[in-house]
Structure formats: C-alpha cells, structure tokens
Subunit: 458 residues, 4 copies
Amino acid sequence: MPQRMFLETVRSEGLAHLSYIVGHAGQAAVIDPRRDSSIYQQIAERHGAAITRIFETHRNEDYVIGSRDLARRTGATIHHGARLDFSYGQSVCEGNTFDIGQLRLGVLETPGHTHESISLTLADATNGPDPVGVFTGDALFIGDVGRTDLLPEGAEHAAGLLYESLHRTLGPLGDGVIVYPAHGAGSVCGMHMAPREFSTLGYERQHNHALQLDRDAFIRHKAGEYHDQPPYFKRMEQYNQFGPPELTDIPHPCPLDPSAFAETMDEGLFVVDLREPEAFAGAFVPGSLCIPLEMLASYGGWFLPYDRPLGLVAESSDQVGQAVRHLLRIGYDDVAGYLSGGLGAWETSGRPFGRVRTLPATELRSRLESGEDFTLLDVRKPNEVAEQRLKGSLHIHLGELPGRLDEIPRDRPVTTLCSSGRRAMIAASILKKHGFEQVENNLGSMQACLAVGCPTET
Amino acid sequence: MPQRMFLETVRSEGLAHLSYIVGHAGQAAVIDPRRDSSIYQQIAERHGAAITRIFETHRNEDYVIGSRDLARRTGATIHHGARLDFSYGQSVCEGNTFDIGQLRLGVLETPGHTHESISLTLADATNGPDPVGVFTGDALFIGDVGRTDLLPEGAEHAAGLLYESLHRTLGPLGDGVIVYPAHGAGSVCGMHMAPREFSTLGYERQHNHALQLDRDAFIRHKAGEYHDQPPYFKRMEQYNQFGPPELTDIPHPCPLDPSAFAETMDEGLFVVDLREPEAFAGAFVPGSLCIPLEMLASYGGWFLPYDRPLGLVAESSDQVGQAVRHLLRIGYDDVAGYLSGGLGAWETSGRPFGRVRTLPATELRSRLESGEDFTLLDVRKPNEVAEQRLKGSLHIHLGELPGRLDEIPRDRPVTTLCSSGRRAMIAASILKKHGFEQVENNLGSMQACLAVGCPTET
Amino acid sequence: MPQRMFLETVRSEGLAHLSYIVGHAGQAAVIDPRRDSSIYQQIAERHGAAITRIFETHRNEDYVIGSRDLARRTGATIHHGARLDFSYGQSVCEGNTFDIGQLRLGVLETPGHTHESISLTLADATNGPDPVGVFTGDALFIGDVGRTDLLPEGAEHAAGLLYESLHRTLGPLGDGVIVYPAHGAGSVCGMHMAPREFSTLGYERQHNHALQLDRDAFIRHKAGEYHDQPPYFKRMEQYNQFGPPELTDIPHPCPLDPSAFAETMDEGLFVVDLREPEAFAGAFVPGSLCIPLEMLASYGGWFLPYDRPLGLVAESSDQVGQAVRHLLRIGYDDVAGYLSGGLGAWETSGRPFGRVRTLPATELRSRLESGEDFTLLDVRKPNEVAEQRLKGSLHIHLGELPGRLDEIPRDRPVTTLCSSGRRAMIAASILKKHGFEQVENNLGSMQACLAVGCPTET
Amino acid sequence: MPQRMFLETVRSEGLAHLSYIVGHAGQAAVIDPRRDSSIYQQIAERHGAAITRIFETHRNEDYVIGSRDLARRTGATIHHGARLDFSYGQSVCEGNTFDIGQLRLGVLETPGHTHESISLTLADATNGPDPVGVFTGDALFIGDVGRTDLLPEGAEHAAGLLYESLHRTLGPLGDGVIVYPAHGAGSVCGMHMAPREFSTLGYERQHNHALQLDRDAFIRHKAGEYHDQPPYFKRMEQYNQFGPPELTDIPHPCPLDPSAFAETMDEGLFVVDLREPEAFAGAFVPGSLCIPLEMLASYGGWFLPYDRPLGLVAESSDQVGQAVRHLLRIGYDDVAGYLSGGLGAWETSGRPFGRVRTLPATELRSRLESGEDFTLLDVRKPNEVAEQRLKGSLHIHLGELPGRLDEIPRDRPVTTLCSSGRRAMIAASILKKHGFEQVENNLGSMQACLAVGCPTET
C-alpha cells in the first residue's frame, strides 16, 4: 500500500491564522508556521516525516512567523518571495518547484497584499504538473481577498496588482483547485471571510464577492475599504523581515499572590484582564485593562506596551497558558506573572476592586428617550459608524481612545458602545484606568439597540 | 522483563472523588468507579488489560457509582460489603481475597461511615500477604476521617464503629502501608482533608488530627461535627443500593438560541448559570440560578429539581460538556439544552438581563460603621457562623434559603455574605429569582471583612 | 466571530475506509460511520456539537456500518437510499436536503455500485444552494470509480448505471466541487485509488482514468475488471440491510499463557498470527494462520470462521487492541484471548514452534535456472497473473487455496509467491496448517523476481 | 479549595528510568530529568506550574541527564551533591531544604552507589518537617539496593557506605515514608527490582532482601554481585559531570530507500535492526546488527559506535521515533536515516537478505543427545552461567563477543543461546556480520531447555 499523502491545517485562534503542513514519503513542508512551532514537528512525527522545507507566503504584518525557530530545530530550509530583502532564508521565483515525496509545490508570484507575496501550487506528481490545490497566503481568502492598504504606493496600486494576481495568476489554475488561504473568519486581514475552511477556485469565482467585480470596480472597492492598522504591525514587519528573537520555549509565568501582584504593579507591571466582559464588569483589579482572551491576539497590539512586563488576570491557569501563546505570537515575550488564585484571591484579600455598571439596551433606549445627560461613546471603526449610529453618540475609534481622552467630559456618566459590547468593555476599562469615575457599558450594544428600536442616524 | 503492576488514580473534580484502577498481567480491578466510566477502560486498554473486577467500598451517598454500566460493558464482577442488601453484585466478607495477576486485593470490614463499608488491602503476592497499600473508602482520608452522621443509630454509635475500624482494623496493618482514600480535599465527605494524595498509615497516625484522639474524645469530636446533608443524598443512596438508570452515553445537549432558550424557559426549563460569580454579577438571564461550574457537583444537589429539564448558561461548549458530566455523576440526566452563543448572544438579542451589585469589604465596613439600613445575609454553615460572624448579620444556611425567604425583608437592600463571596452569589441569584430587587453581593465576604477589620461577634 | 463550520475525516486503516463528520452551530452529521463509533462523538464534543443525523451512502458490503449503535447513543436519525428495503432508518430521495447549522446536505441518487447508492452534496447555505463539496460514497473515488461487479443484473448493467451517475449526476455539479469518497488507497472497493485524500470533480475529470472513457469503453473496462468477493461480504450485506448485533463496547480479550493458549486451541480456538511475515517465518505457533495486522481487515474475511472463537498472536497488547477493532469492523466479535507474553513466552515454555524457510529472489532464480524439482505456487489474483507470471508456476488464487490444497503435491517443496511475499506468507501458513512439510516463502516475490531477472511468461 | 499538590512519575522504558516532577501552588521541581525533557514542561503546564528547580540524585552512568537543556528552557536552577566537582549547577549539602509551594524538599547525603549521591525527602510543610516520601536515587530501589561496583575504592568500600546510607540515613525516616527510586524493574542498575512502583520504607525494611542482611553479610553480598559495565558508561559519566551536548530538538531521521540505504552503508552507516528476533531470523539486511527496540537502551551502549552515523531498520516509523529517543538518552545523536518501507522494501528490491535458522529446544535436546558436532555458544553473564549451564556449551559473555570471535570455530554450525533467545539473536547477528555462515539461534534458550530437560551442569 502506498504511503498516504497528508495535508493538515494548524489554526491559531484569535489571529484566525491558518498554516499548513503537507507531506509524503517521509518528508514534509510547512507553509507560514506560527511562532510556537513545535506542533508542526508533532504532526510530522505522527506521519513519520521530517520537515525539510518551510515556505512563507509573504512578510506577515499581523503575527511573528515561526520559520527561523522551526528551521533551527529541524534543519529545514526557509523559502520566501524574492521581492523583499529578507535577512534570512532563500528567495524563490515564479516557476520554482519543490518535491516532497510525490507532492510538488510550485511558486506563483501573487503581489498585491505585499510586493513579495507568493502562492504555492500543490500537485500530485504522479498525475503530472496540474495543481490540485493552492496555498494562497493573503492573496485570496475564502469569501474575501487580501487587504491592499499596506503598500507604500497606495491602495489603488496595490489593488491593481492584486487584481492581476487573482485573475491572471490564480484564476487560470482552473476551477477544480482547492484553496488553502492563510487566514479564516475573524482575522484582521480581511472582512468578509466565510466561517468555512474548504473551498475551490471555482466556488470562489462564483461566490466570492470580490471576484465578481471588474478591474475598476475592484480597485474602487479595495481603495474604499477601511482596515485597522494597529501600531504593533510595524514591529511584526521588522521581525519578519530581519528575524524575530529566538524562542527557546513557551514560558510559564510566575504565580503572584494579591500582595505580590499589587507590589509588582507599583513597580510597573502592565495588567491585562483576560476574563469575559461581564466578569470584568462584576469586579476588576483597579488599573487593569480588559481584553478578553479571544480578543487578545487582535487587540493586544493596539494597547500593550513592548517595554513593560505584562501581568495577567485570568479565570484559570489554562487561560494563562493560552494568553502566553497569543502574546508571543504577536511578539510580547515578557509576561512576568499572573494573579494567583484569580480575582477571588484579590477579593478575599480585602483589597478594593473596581466595577463597571452594565446597561441593557432597553434602559439605554429609555434614557435616550428621556433625554438624560450623559456621553454615549461609540468606539467602533469608522466604516461601521458610517453605516449607522445612535443619535447623539460621540465617535472615537477604540484604537485612538487612549490618545483622545480629553475629548470626553469627565463630569457626566460615560456609556460605552460598540457592536456587541465587547470592544466597549475594553474602552470602559481604559476610561476607568484613566480616572473616569462614572463609566457604564451597554452590553449588547448596537445589535441590541437595533433589536429594541433605539433611535439611529446614518 | 516482568510486566509492570500499575495503579492509577482517577479524579472527579467537584466531587473531589478519587477512584482507582490497579492491574497486572492483563487483568485489572477498579475501586469505586464514577458514572462516566469509559475512562477506566481506556486506562486498562493502555496497559493491555481487561477489567475483571469492580469493588465498591460502600454505598456512596454523594454520587452515582458507575459499577453497573462498567460491568455491563466489560463483563467484570461487582463486589461490595455484605452488611447491606444491594440489588446487584456480590457480597464480600472480611478475609476474602482476589488476585489480579500477582496483585492481591483483600477485604477488611471497616464500618462507621456506613455499616457495609469495606477497605481493600493491596499486596504484592510475590512477597507474601503483607499489604503495601490500602484503599480506605470513606473510612480514612488523608488528613481526616469519614463523616459519621449518616447512620440511623446516630453519630456516637457510628463514631464508635469508625474508631474501631481505624484503630483495630486499619492501624495494625502497619505504618508502611500507603493510603488510597475515596475522596480528596474539597469533598463534602470530610472537612480537613489535605490537598495531597500521597500518604501512609504511619504518616496519618502522626499527623491526622482525628487519629490523635482517644476513643471518647474521638466520639465527642465526631458527634460535634456539622456536615451538610443535601436532599439529593437520598436519591444517590437509592441509586447505589438498587442500581441507577443505565447510562448509554454522555449526551451533548442542544444549542438553543436566545429566542428558543427563552421559550423553553417558559415551558419549564430550569436554568443554571455556570459562569464565575463576577460574570453573573455583570449580567445574567433573568430567572437563572448561579452555580459556578466548580461548585456544581457540591451544590447542584441542594437546588436542582430532578423532575424538570435543565438548561445551561456557560462560557464555552467545553464548560457545557463538563457540566453535563458533573450533573450525571449526581443523577441529573436531563440536560435539555444550553444557551448558544452564551450570554453575549442574549445581550445582543436586546433581551433585558439581570445584574447583582458587588460590594467590596471596605464599602461594607463603611456602611456598617454608618449604621445604614440594610439586611446583611450570612449563608454560611452553622459551624462557620458559630466561630465568628459580622455584627448584625442575619443567618440562614444556604441550603435552607429557598424555604426561608419570608424571613428576609423585601423593602430594604439585601447584601449576601459567605466566606469568600461564591456561595453568597448563589444566594443572591436565589433572591433575584424570587423577586428581591435590591440584592448585593459582598465579594470577598468574611475573609475580606476580617482583613479590613469589619466588626465581628462570636 | 461566527462559529466555524467543521469537516473531519475519520480513517479506518486496513479497510481504507473514509468516513466524515461535518458540523456547524452545535449540530453535526456523520457520513458512513464505522462500527467502533465513539470517535464521532469525541469529535462532535470537541466542536461543542450534538450528532443529529447519520447518512449511509449505500449498503456497504466490506464492513459493518456503525449507524445503529451511534444513533442509539446520540438519538440521531439514520438516512439511506430508498432503493433498498432497509430494516431501520429513513429513506431519502433525490433532492431531499438537510440543514446542519448553515451547512446543507443534499441527496443525489448515484446508483451503479449498488442500486440504492446516494451521494450527498455539501453547501454553505449562506451562499445559496451551490455545492462546495460532495460525499460520493463508492461511486467516485480519488483516482478511480466504484466497482460494478456486485449487482445481480451483472457488471455491464451496473457499469451503465454508474456511468450515468458519474457523468449525468455528479459531473454537472461543476469542476470546483471537492470530492469526499468513502474509500482511499488500499481498499478492496477499487484498484487505482490515489494515496491522496484531497481532490475535486475538476481534477478527477482530468486525471481519473475511468472518467476519460466514453460510455462503451467505460462499460467494457468495468466489465473486464477483476475484484475479489470474499465470503464475508454476504454477512456484511445482511448486517447492513437488517442491522448488525449491538456493540456495547470494545472488548479486551483475555491474556492466555502458553499452556492455557494451547489448551484453548485444543478446544477449538482459531488462531491468527498478526505479526509481520518475517517474524512468522522465524517462529510460529503450530496451527496458526498468518495474517499481518495491516492485512487483517482485507483478508480476515476470506479465512476466519464466524462460528469459532478467535485467538491472537501479536507483538504487543497495542496490536491486540487494534486487531480487535479491525475484526469487529468486519463482524468478528468473538475474540476469546491472546497469547500472553507473545511468541517469546511460547518459545521459553519449551513448546515446539513452526518455521517457514524464506527464499530471496536471487536463490529462486538460481533454482529456476538449475531446474530443481519444486512447486512454485503463485497465489495472486487472476488479473495479476494474467499480466505476467513466472515460468512454470502453479496458480491458485489465495482465496481459493483452502479448497484446492489437493492440487498441490505434498512430496516436494512448495515455494509460495505473490507480488511482495506478504500474501504468500498467508498461503505458506495455510499449507503449514494443513500438514505440508516443506514450505518456503519467496519474500520479495514478483517484484523482486522481476528486479533480478527471473524468467517470466505472459 | 486549596490547590492540589501533585507528584507524577515519568518513565523511560528500556532504561527503566524513573524520574519525578512534584509541585504545588504554581511551582514545580523535577528529580533526575531524562534528556528528552519537554515532557516535564507539559506536565507542569497542565498543573499551571513553572519548573523552578531540578535535582540530580547523582552523576548517572547509564543515561544522559536532561538537566541542562531543561534549565536552559525554563530558567530553573540545577542542584546536585557536593562530593563531585560538576561543571554546572549548584552543590547542596545534608540539611538543605527547598520549598515548592507548601511542599518541602530536603537533602540527605546517601553515598555508596557514588560518592555524591543524595536522596531528597518530601514533606508537606503544613504538617511540619516530617517526610511523607523520599526520592532515593540509586541508593534504594523497590526490591533491591543500588549497585556498588562503580567506586574507585572498590565494591567493599562502596557497600559499606551504602549500608550506612540505608540504615543510618534512610531507615530512621520511619516506616511510613513512601519510596520514589530512580529505577524500576529491568534497569542495568539493579537485579531484583520489583515490577511495582509503589512502596514504603516500612515495606522495604521487611521485604527487600538486601535490607535483611547485617553489615558484614551486606558487604559480602554486594561485593559478590556481578554487573555489566558497558563501555558507554564512561561517556555518560563525562557528559553528566561536565555537561552533555545541547539537544535543541528530537530529530527525525531521513527515509532512505533500499538503494540509498545500501549506498549509505557502503559509506559507513552502522545499521541496527530494531525488529523482534523472530523477524530478524526471517530476513535481515546483510551487515546489520540485531537489537530489538526494547533492548536498545540497555544493549546499544555495548555495541554501537559513537563516531559513525547510525541507520535503522524498523517495523514502523513509530518505532523509528522511539529508537531515536532511546538512542539520544544514551548519547547517540547521529541517526542518519532509516530504511524507508522497512524490510519489505528491501525484499521487493531483489537485494539478497540474510537469515538465521531458529532451533526449538526440543531439537537442540535431540542434537545434544545424538552428539552432533556444533558449537553451542552461551552468551549470558558470568553469574547466570555460574548457576547452571548446558553441557558442552562454550561461554562468551555477549558484551565481549565482538573481541573474542576467534575463539569460535568457523567450520561448524554455531548455535547461540542465552536465557530466552533474545540476547542470543544479538549474538547471532554479530556472528553473521563477521562472516560466520552457519549460525543458528535457540529461541527459548535456557528457559526452554530446562522445560524440555536438556542436560545441564553447574
């Protein structure tokens, strides 16, 4: 019986990052490994394969790529696109092919998201060179295409390049080619991705809205898109071009009892509370920032400093372990400790704790109707606000909030609002951290407000 | 190389239940299996062994024993003590021995906790009959001994029996015998158990406080102990004497969206919120009962009805899965569904949600000092209250709260209090469920109050 | 973030059977579950989903389907094609659809392999009815199509039906549809399957040899194919139409020491040796049948009786556990025991053991050249022999060997031969079991013989 | 609920090495870590703990200790006995204590096996300083005591030291102390260890034969013991005193097809066949050495060169992975490749393969009775041979065989013999490798010979 070809997807939740390992006959290749990369070796070992090649579809801006650590441990060669001057690895060009047993990976240059972006075709060499799959990186997603706001030449130029990549390079591979993208639903790298990880070029050609547009419409559409550019992107780009710090291992931070935790905060510990918004509302360590665990990968890079040790408040040591991974994937390696015993230990120590009042949409509606005097702070993205907003709301994008606090009156209650109430709780914690006293969160936010009929404007 | 004898502990968190599987040479025996019992087969399989015998150290009152399901699936024989008329299995008597490869299990009758309680010595037959370990059931724990409030003849009689079992039956086995008890720290079956699962008769003889007492002092001590007797104990006793309903499999309850969840509540769904107290405080489904997941096994049996379908509010589907196991271990098999999307889905639906105000101990102290008019409701156990209580507090034991609600004034705020604030949140949710409007929870409770110097009385 | 749609493949090695579980939003469906079916529940649980539907693409003939056990444990509904009178489950027809969250499964009737064969399209309902994948059962494989020798109307009729199913029903779904077949490389249900589990209708249209043929050529091709029809097929068909015995659990057979093993053999134990052919050659329990573990699912059904208890000789208890699963998947539930301590225990007990002399191809060539007097027994399938055979060889198909032993002279050495030497070792063990004394195995067999230039004929 | 103290045993099969990790309250200590040490971090992570201390009970001679790699990855401190000049870590002395949460580890100096040997008591500090367990390293095993043939001062001196350690240092800790030794049954570091890993000082005092002897008898007994001293011990001692090469990761060797494998052998690859002796007998790659996988850790260090790349022949890639671990634990880091497709691929390539004739004891008896002319080569240890031997056998200890081949006549058949036939197959492979042509193996060996009544002498 011939040995089975294998292809496995490795997901990094939070980042919604998809990476892949393919192999045959004792060899394996990894595409876009994440930083905590031992998982690829475990999969390879399970298939009796050695990892011999690592491909980077592009210089990622939203996470630290794990190629160098993985290469160091396995002896594999790293390959990436030729149009950027990387400090490590080997450049590959259109048409290069690499054999992994009877599997053949072929390089396609698919610029647009970045200049050096490549896609990799996957062929079963026993049937000749026709690809059966393609790793599309951030060029083509399932349900969307890559963002084009990162090139120095501007979004229109980038969108033009991407259009060509999609229609001249990927499209001609044929409908029957399976698509393996670098991100799934929930990523900051796209907006309309499907919560589904199986698709083909043919299916996308028919159902991906971005592929329905002609060149001009496509460029207009892409140029008009809004995407967050959190400040940590710059660091990721540096890391991924010149090589990130070596990661010898996943550290486990120290347990700190409430007294030690408080002391360490006095010495500069920056504290992130990973619990759910409702739990933060119920009680929190004064001075801490609320970022629920599943939002940590997407929002940590907006607010967390790289030059201060981080402290965690979590519901379990399992959550601590996950947070450490989420953080190192975006380059935060200095997690100094966590609150041992969780918030309960803080509470029983007798230390004061903070609270955020929560407000159902029905109460918000009454308040709006009765014309109460308060600030309704909407922290959604500009494109969300542009679509629809509550009457009388003040808009400051969550990412800009720390720099624009003086726009918010301190003598009146502030009610934070987003789409569901989750980002609004991050905002509420920022306000609390900066001394705002009357802070409320409208849990349910816009979705609830629309459901109960709050007055809106466009 | 001779095949290794194995002994593995299976823990059921929540119940703090310890069960064991021992084996040698292709055979294995299980002591006190839990109801979700496939784990024993997995361990046996890993050691290449078939489970041939199952021992019950006594008719347990705090959980459903899994013997019959496990026996049905493996063909193993069930053995238990002779002094109770079980509807299934075989009775064993002092001195009976059972060989599992070269391991030999021997029966000791150790009444006290119940009449039919047995302990099982574990010997390596290659060295003769001397035991190297003993499974002590609920007779001897690490750091404590079994409770003696369950016999119809009364606690003094039971304590006398237990004293003999400990000193005449177990003690003479010798200091060098390892102790394998049926419960660890956190169980409702004892009070002072160590958070450590390795000990010997010799170590316990020197360090277990209950073994330091002479007969009279021991009986006085045990007769004076307080232990909760939640109403579900009766059902467990019935199940474990006559056989529980067959468990074909671990069910996975249905996801219910907020609309379906609300409808099912109208039709009689009894809703338990498994999230942490702080999260419940932040927002909850009106009408739901707060029992944090890790307290579910200990407190579910006080409050949950056996004749209504249960609905769950959880933070993750993983929590739902755990709760289903916790519940079936105490006989609740009808979990009809869970709130799909969690509380966030409820909030974004626009439905109103409940809140419980949380109160730090510093605020409580100020309020007590200023003589504010409110009810301070202490829901701890009588023995805890007897030791120390806050001045002016009203005491109603948590378990009795649903039946004594009319003792609490409805026209003033009620602040619930326990040792840490966790049980107090269960109490708060009961008050809310029964229409109390001004309900607060003192997170941190007695521990925090003592730390900040609230006025107490004894 | 919307909940992820999931699709996982469950492989049963040996049978090369592929089954699937797909799910979304708390619900899941299983396609063609195997008999040891708890794995589907584990996967569902991991995704927080309940299994609500089970589909059978057809009445399988090569394994026992696990639908009824899985349905009993989960409460799921079973669905299968309408053109056979099943004793259980519900019939479905062309065009029926079933929603699993936002996933939609649709029924296509694709007869040919059997009359009632169905395929199931998989659509993402958020994009409308177009399928993104199709579960093809035994109609279309990756690299081959289903066998057509099972219909009572004959292979030509069946091939005609299958041609229509492939070209009129499946083909029009479009190139961009991912193919999820019921078998992979190594199955007895097809001959040319690729060792690859990812493909599309478009890729198959271009690279699957059977799809290149026109109707007449296709029917000629299929009618000319040879496929084994092991006797156990009949039992599988009975089981799968009327319902197999309930499987309460995976049993673990008893360890038997050499003395007990020998005694049980005297009482009728039928012994299978699961070790590799080389190990069997080195020493074996007299009277045992050699079927290496990985061949057990494919060849067990030829030679093992259903009415005698089976005994196993293995290299590890892990192998025993795997063999038990392989056997129950093809309906052998009575594995009474295994040789404890393996063959080493048999050897050290002093009992005589059998041996098979092994012969490299170079020696066979010399012997053929020198015209030695011996029987060269080729046990390959007729179609293999027809292609090329060694000069002077006697051909008896392995499956027919037990019934044709009298065609083989007992007074001369017999050298068994197949393609690689593996089936030849099964043959050698059959000869040994039936008293042949001079039995050799040509390890490497035809492949080695061709490599070293043994004289052949066509 | 207080956090549970944990204690887990990590076994390395083959070496029968036992190491431990204990922890409490977010901290953990490891005792005698093996070289592939990520498992300790996984366990610590599961318990939410950081590894802060590593203890070495002595400079081990039979395996490479993993302290330095583990310390490098975790930041933990390494501790070992003061009576040897280690190049790394910190020395500890009698009476030093180290707290891990509420667990307290205390140092006892227990020389004898080596000078710097220490034991570590384990106390629950909440109960004061009395130990509940003790990590005894190679001083005391379950059923035996450490070997005393390694000190330069000689076995009598060492035995005297060990006697004092056992009776003056460990004994007084009290019967009720659990024993956690560094090796279990099957180790080269002791002879009579029980196949059981749970015991106490009290149980050992009564049942461990070595503890029954008075000082003089003990010294005589230990001085008279025979233990193998394989040549690799020297390298382990060097590594463990001065630090082994850093292990960045577990490598996965390259698959080599038969042709590449043969070529690499020509270039100096040293080939080890890991399959069972019966399989080696059936067919083997000419020039390879037979060491069954489970014997690799104990016998590899006798025969494998440190300065040549190793090649593996295995039954599965899983076996390859295990062998790589076994080998790196004894310092062999250069495994260059393995035979892809296993021996079957070699056979079908047409390459000649070797065979070893296997001989049941009944045939050997006949041959001995008929006075046939052959060499009966007994490769057991001197102490085994001294007890009982077959009449007319030639004795060469397996470890010395490669250097004493010229004592064996080449013109007659050689039948190898040991206790069971396993070591005898290693011997047979050595003979084959060195050109002996008529080599047989008596599978079952002495055990079988005694069972069937072969003539013996003492």
